[in-house]
């Protein structure tokens, strides 16, 4: 069986190993991110949530996923 190559990316400051050629959509799904309650940045660019299934991730990509929490 062909071994799937892994790449390392950073999500919210933590290093994660994902399958090469994974889309952003797959990664977010695996993390069970509720898309309607978050905003996503890829390498400091805000991502249109409708387009995440078309975005392929590369080595060393930096993803930020944010949501609302209590604050004053």
């Amino acid at each position: 069986m062909k071994k799937i190559k892994k790449i390392k990316i950073k999500i919210n400051g933590k290093i994660k190993s994902i399958n090469q050629d994974s889309t952003l959509s797959v990664v977010l799904k695996n993390l069970k991110i509720p898309l309607n309650k978050v905003a996503i940045e890829l390498n400091k660019e805000i991502i249109d949530k409708k387009k995440i299934n078309k975005i392929k991730l590369n080595k060393n990509d930096k993803i930020e996923i944010v949501h609302f929490i209590g604050g004053g």
């Binding site: 999500i11 919210n12 400051g13 933590k14 993390l31 069970k32 991110i33 509720p34 309607n36 309650k37 978050v38 905003a39 996503i40 940045e41 400091k44 805000i46 949530k49 930020e64 996923i65 944010v66 949501h67 609302f68 929490i69 209590g70 604050g71 004053g72």
Partner: protein
């Protein structure tokens, strides 16, 4: 009679019945926060933008406790110390679900938490151009308040005292001067400690107050939420009713005629 139901707070063309805005930080739990908000009668709550905890997927979400369809979320930029960070935060906030009404807060000093007004002014200009409706946390300087107004701010939100200090309004004169010069909603943001502080703010002619710590950290947050709700109503009514002139000497309340 002053009809309080028709005496709305209008921000960015949206009507609100309550003139009390509350923060959602510093509560012991999300359920405590949600209950305090309900008791306060607030229709706008401030929220912070932070990283999702990706290692604990079952962590409760604010949106599960406070329904953004029923309560207006006001995303803030708490923790931002320059314009770049603040703009990044609010652009992300807008992306979460189309939020345009935001609270801009660019801090200048980690100890006193005073706003950096140069960075605040710069950010207000950019955000207004990008279509944001910006409610701006600022110092109580009438000149800066005017500049913010000219830069497209939707509401002026001067501090009463440092954030979380509970000291109450320190500079009533400045607040009154800002009141006289602006037609924008004027909301006291930060530094109030007890319900009577909110009444004083409203009696000075402010359109509303924003409270977080004074409710969340009170020994009994629910009772304090209710106290602030009533204090804001009392202050508004008092302001609208036209207070008596101050005089130096006594003036008896009972007639002096017919004394036996």
């Amino acid at each position: 009679m002053v009809n309080l139901k028709k005496d709305n707070l209008i921000i960015a063309n949206k009507k609100f019945n309550s003139r009390l805005i509350v923060g959602t930080g510093k509560y012991k739990s999300m359920s405590e926060c949600a209950k305090a908000i309900k008791l306060s009668g607030a229709e706008i709550v401030t929220v912070a933008v932070r990283r999702v905890n990706i290692s604990d997927k079952n962590k409760p979400l604010l949106m599960d406790y406070i329904d953004p369809k029923k309560i207006t979320y006001l995303p803030n930029t708490a923790g931002c110390f320059n314009s770049k960070e603040a703009l990044r935060t609010l652009r992300l906030a807008r992306e979460i679900g189309g939020w345009k009404l935001v609270k801009l807060e660019v801090l200048g000093d980690k100890k006193n938490l005073f706003p950096d007004m140069i960075e605040t002014l710069k950010s207000t200009e950019v955000l207004a151009k990008e279509g944001f409706k910006v409610m701006v946390y600022c110092n109580d300087d009438p000149l800066m308040a005017k500049r913010l107004e000219n830069s497209g701010a939707e509401a002026i939100m001067p501090l009463a005292a440092p954030i979380g200090s509970g000291l109450g309004i320190q500079n009533k004169i400045n607040i009154q001067i800002i009141r006289k010069q602006t037609k924008l909603p004027l909301i006291i943001d930060a530094g109030l400690g007890q319900a009577s502080d909110a009444t004083i703010a409203m009696e000075l002619g402010c359109d509303g107050v924003l409270i977080n710590t004074a409710i969340a950290k009170a020994k009994k947050p629910f009772e304090m939420a209710l106290a602030f709700k009533n204090a804001v109503i009392a202050g508004r009514l008092s302001y609208k009713s036209g207070r008596i002139d101050k005089i130096l000497m006594g003036n008896p309340s009972s007639p002096s005629k017919g004394i036996i």
